[in-house]
Amino acid sequence: MGFFDTLARWLGMKKKEVNVICVGLDNSGKTTIINQLKPQNAQQSDIVPTIGFTVEKFASASLSFTVFDMSGQGRYRNLWEHYYKDAQAIIFVIDSSDKLRMVVAKDELEQLLNNQDILSKRIPILFYANKMDMKESLSAVKVSQMMGLETIKDKPWHICASNAITGEGLPEGVEWVTDQIRSMKK
């Protein structure tokens, strides 16, 4: 990191970069959320199931995010852990209309939290209770109860309901993550 980079950041010309990992069950809307967060001209029109992962970039007011958008399909979930190490924040997407698989999501979350690379770190976790527009969808509170989020004591976490297709609720989450990371730096 050269002197000019530091200077540029100090002057607010260049934003600080953060690595974020985005996980969740398959068909929960991870890629759609990330796609929505990207600038208008970089968005894709059709979203297909991710195989493996993709790297995406977007920016908030003060930070530049590099997101590892992981595949949620069962056979690839064990590959998430390869990317925990250098993540500075985790976005966990939950399909709030899928009550049946909520337990599976809970199970995956527990595994994530017990991972060596996560366990020791005070890393902010943002939950999106996605698909809030669906008729049978649960509220954010209900989801946090079912996921047992209140048991997470050693890490800051936040849950917000979202609709990835319209983008509703997304900025709120990003703002929270930005605040958390900035406060952590201080």
């Binding site: 195989i51 992962f53 993709t54 590099t66 590959l79 250098d86």
Partner: protein, 892 residues
Amino acid sequence: MLGLRRDKKDEEDGFSLNPFNNLEKTSVLQEARTFNETPINPRKCCHILTKVLYLINQGEHIATTEATETFFAMTKLFQSQDVTLRRMVYLTIKEMADIAEDVIIVTSSLTKDMTGKEDMYRAAAIRALCRITDSTMLQSIERYMKQAIVDRNPSVSSAALTSSLHLMRSSGDVVKRWVNEATEAASSDNIMVQYHAVGVLYHIKKTDRLGVSKLVSKFTKQSLRSPYAYCLLIRIATKLLEEESEGRDSPLFDFIETCLRHKSELVIYEAAHAIVNMPNTSARELAPAISVLQLFCSSPKPTLRFAAVRTLNKVAMKHPAAVAACNLDLENLITDVNRSIATLAITTLLKTGSESSVDRLMKQISTFMSEISDEFKIVVVQAIRSLCLKFPRKHGVLMSFLASMLRDENSSNSSQGGFDYKRAIVDSLIGIIEENPEAKEAGLAHLCEFIEDCEHTVLATRILHLLGREGPRTPSPSKYIRFIYNRVILENAAVRAAAVSALAKFGAHCEELMPSVVVLLSRSLLDTDDEVRDRATFYLNVLKQSNKALNSAYILNGLNVSVVGLERALHSYTQEPSETQFDMKSVPLATQPLAEQKAGARIFGAEGLHGAEVTPAAKAPDKVAATRQDIYAEQLAAIPEFQGLGPLFKSSAAVQLTESETEYVVRCIKHTFTNHIVFQFDCTNTLNDQILENVTVQMEPTEGFEVLSYVPAASLPYGQPGITYTCVTLPEDDPTSVIGTFSNTLKFLVKDCDPNTGEPDEEGYEDEYVLEDVEVTIADHIQKVLKPNFAASWDEVGEDYQMEDTYALSTVKTLEDAVKNIVDHMGMQPCERSDKVPADKSAHTLFLAGVYRGGHDVLVRARLAVDDGVTMQITVRSTDETAAEVISASVG
């Protein structure tokens, strides 16, 4: 200063030349953890990836866990937008695709790159993606592949097409669905895309012959832009022509011919090459192709000249007349600055040229002989040899050229190198001597000169053996004695032994030289080497008997048994000593004639007693031939029914008793013993829903023969060959009736079975299958034996049992045919190269030698004269009356 000096030293040792020398695998993999750092340093990461690639390509083994760890670390480099780094990542993905696990993790990242806006990424991403994709994953990227194939960017389209070709191997079914996209790509404007598309289309339809021919006819009509695609089409068309064996009027051939007028040289050459290499082309079809190649010969581009002259050189073997038209252009190429072109041009000319141009060409070659490599020199030598066979009258010039080549080589280069080259020359000289009696004396003189200064023992012994065989029969044999005796004084033991043998042959053959040879041989009695001393003593004692029969049997003609067989027989004799004497006749005979066909000129020297003179080249085929019969002998000896039959005398070649596509395929091998014949039937069951059991071949013999026993094959499952034997006694009361026809029936018990599991039913039923007849001919009773000195053997056998008769062979018209028929019928070995009939002669004498069943020598002399039909006077001599009778009776 110190540092500087060390650097310099390193440089001299060549250490610092390669920065990647002495890379440690563990330290490189350790460095690879840098990939996990943020932000990414592209320059550094590129360097590390290069190291990883270097290690993999050096064959360093990287364990799966290590590789996977490195691979996942590398996947984080997808964050970086650095173009160079990304392309290095693609390369590494391809290299690690097989050694790391879960490589499909990068699938989406690569899919994103291949559909993205950055053209630099797209083609490379496709290649990497197809490398990591297996058939199950292919479904998910199929849509992108289809799009990429028809992409407007040629590099993307080409990458997708070539990757499809690779995918074809693992998941052909999926790729087959891309036929529409490939067809669209085939009409692309880009020459490479078109070429690759045609390739993919061909591979999709490869198994469907109709599809391929439709494809070809479609593209031959619409004209392609790409010369590469044209070349590919020409190859496909050639293959189709070959498979269909269609006539030359087929549209495919017309297409290839029109390609001769294409504007691209590439296509023209490909078409000419295809036409020239087709089997059975007529001169008229060849002419346009040859004339194109002729044009290329005067092209300013060396590659074209080389391609043309190389192709012409090959064609010259098959169609010398057609190539002769290019002689003028080829002559210009003799002086080409490129030596490879010049050499090929000259050797082509030698094959096609006329007799009158030989002298000039030889002079031309000698000017640059010293400048070309040994490999090309051998090409020249071989060309000279074939030339000698073509123009026997030119042997003087050619042989003196070969001799001077030998001499130059000797004087300029005395090191070990050049052995192959010298051997090629010596082979050629010997070949010429064998083929052309007129060249014999000059050739022997050249060889004599060569062995005066020859450091290769193998060559010297071969030449000495040749001298011993051919020398005594020349008009003045005495002049060779000096050369041979020089070897006894000067050379190593192996050469001395060979020289002693050669001397003895002179003594045995030429009576006037006998006293001198005896004197010379007696000098070797005190040689330091055992072998030389033994040979000298042996020959000396035989010569002193002055007995023609002895001379012939022990000096001139040697033993005819197989060396392997003799060794085995002697070994078993010493293991179980008995009162009876060792019987030479129990040893199987050497089956030389098999080797002779292949090794032609090398056959001499393969006789048993002179084993020391056998060249490695001659020994190899001889051994193989000997072991074929040995294998049969061993197999038969293991069967209790055949214990009492005595030694195996001869095994015939296999005869097919069925068509090759029938339900059961049977072939028969006849094994002749002293008083029996064992028929070996190799049966194969080609029905996968049947198992045959208790398989025998029922034989209905001609009168006099008696079936002694059957050895059934217990079970014959699908596709596994089984063997059944039938043993027949030869007629005892009439020893002269040895020929007969046997009608055969295959008898067996059929059990139906499940084709998949091979489980047979409990119940079976008897069935039979009629086979073709087997004939026992006179050839089955005679083993071929080569008598190097036929006249001596003729005298040795004597007139005691001589039969003489005259026949008119009305069916054959020429001497060649007559000789061939007689040799085939008798199954005996032609001696003194009497099977080659000199051209334009009206009379010929054929000498045949063999051993009749039971170990009796048989010699046949057939005098043939041609007038209207062929008249034959045949004289049979044998050491056994029956044998003589049988053979002379068989002729009628």
